[in-house]
Point group: C2
DNA sequence: GCAAATTTGTTCGTATGTATT
DNA sequence: CAATACATACGAACAAATTTG
């Protein structure tokens, strides 16, 4: 009796799910039925359900029942740019191209454009003074009609002053902003730095991406800082923050010579794949 | 009264935590005290606590109390290799170098070496037949004495046959396996591909990394496939799977010309940073 | 459209077990 | 050993969402 009852019930159900007795999308027995099956109170059954729900293995719907979670197709985004194909980046044109190359349909809402004062974290990356004016362009992206990511790009106001008024227009920039800035100002992106982190979604993100509001599905955040050439070395001219649901997105980056094919999704291996025994630490 | 009571209590405590009234490490009022403060039953208080705990905002310890979660230092790992400094990769020598450069102390357990039959997911990446012999080298890595990551590299048996017997030794390869294979076989890594994904930890990972066993802290997994030159194009010769706690690790990738400094951690921005209003979808 | 039945969600009360101080 | 504090478990009632008749 070392393990609590709710835990043993949860394990039993987990094995049924993982073993395929309960298939994705299938309804679990109701709480009342499980109560009789395991001879436990409804609250204990519910504790077992919560154990499974916190791991996103089941999904409860009031008035209907509890269902085995459906496996979601994981989508792979290539972060490293490939000059030849123009693929890569998870943003703008590059994202659309990769989604199409994988046989899906990309869509994007018209941007919401705002003039803002730079928060510290953005100012630091753009190397402008905190509180100085920046432009933010916010867009929602979809794959096959389903919400996929939220994306916001920040540009220093300086770029508009120098002639890139299009940044202030609430219209999609068809050729991509990097290309637009090249055409308008002759600005060339000579490099970029991606920072990747994982955190729980905020309310807005959870709402748009259709994630449960209990934070059990994290989001992956890609912060891309683009650099232009300058006498003092690479000079940041844009920051793009992209937010993806972490349970159905993977990211790939290539360095040097790699096969030319689009990378497929990994099957969530652990660090002990193939391990026959158990590790001791 | 739209929202349930446990939710409102959780929000109230959340604001106290985020506002700094309750500081990291500080003990929350006991369940009994909160029961009186909010005029709710103990079960309702506990539901509020679970809401916070599932978001890793608080930590309950039997016999002691419930405490505001401590902020962990986030560590940044550079995934793109920098030939000049040798930095980058989150694995082997490169990881040690970056950890030192950031002013911390890296340590690693002696590897556990095993001869295995390749599972499909590894065989596919190594382009060997499923079930063929491969070598796995498993290591636990530490920063400043604290568990940091689990790492397993897989090599085709072919490399040993060709003379790289050191792969089978349960000893750390001081110069790094890529360098070792270069010295021994003249094999040159011409490129690599990193795949990044996020998932809940398995029991072994949670145990070693000190993560709660309820899966609320995900792990980030980096799968690096290294390629050597061959007449048929890049040919995979190793796969390294690294597992990091996602709540205290960030990853950086550089492309093209970027500033030369080590990238600092991002402060978890959302896609609406600076957003004064709210988005409507 | 409405009412009933079903199912999960919330809240209360209570009792007992386990870990820590 | 005793006190404190969280963990587990039971039972009960009502609310809210959904489906069915």
């Amino acid at each position: 009796m070392a393990e609590p009852m709710y835990w043993r019930i949860a394990q039993d159900l987990r094995h049924e799910i993982e073993g395929g007795t309960l298939r994705p999308g299938q309804q679990l027995p109701t709480e009342l039925e499980l109560r009789e099956k395991y001879g436990a109170s409804r609250n204990t059954i519910r504790d077992a359900m919560k154990w499974l729900a916190s791991r996103a293995m089941v999904d409860s719907r009031p008035g209907q029942g509890t269902f085995v979670a459906e496996h979601r197709d994981t989508f792979v985004t290539t972060l490293s740019a490939d000059i030849q194909t123009g693929r890569g980046g998870g943003e703008g044109l590059a994202a659309d191209a990769e989604i199409s190359a994988r046989g899906h349909r990309a869509a994007v809402d018209p941007p919401r454009v705002e003039l803002q004062r730079a928060a510290d974290r953005i100012a630091e990356r753009l190397r402008v003074a905190a509180g100085s004016l920046i432009i933010s362009r916010h867009q929602a992206r979809y794959i096959d009609g389903a919400p996929w990511s939220l994306q916001t790009s920040f540009y220093p106001m300086d770029l508009v002053t120098r002639g890139a008024q299009g940044l202030l227009l609430a219209e999609d920039i068809a050729q991509g902003t990097v290309t637009y800035l090249h055409e308008t100002l002759g600005l060339i992106q000579v490099g970029y730095r991606d920072t990747i982190l994982v955190r729980p979604p905020d309310q807005n993100e959870a709402g748009f991406l259709g994630l449960p509001d209990d934070g059990r599905i994290p989001v992956a955040v890609i912060i891309r800082t683009g650099y232009a050439d300058s006498p003092d070395g690479p000079d940041p001219f844009r920051v793009t923050v992209s937010v993806f649901p972490a349970d159905r997105n993977q990211f790939v980056m290539n360095s040097g010579a790699v096969p030319g094919d689009l990378a497929g999704p990994a099957k969530r291996p652990n660090a002990m794949t193939n391990c026959p025994g158990r590790m001791r630490h």
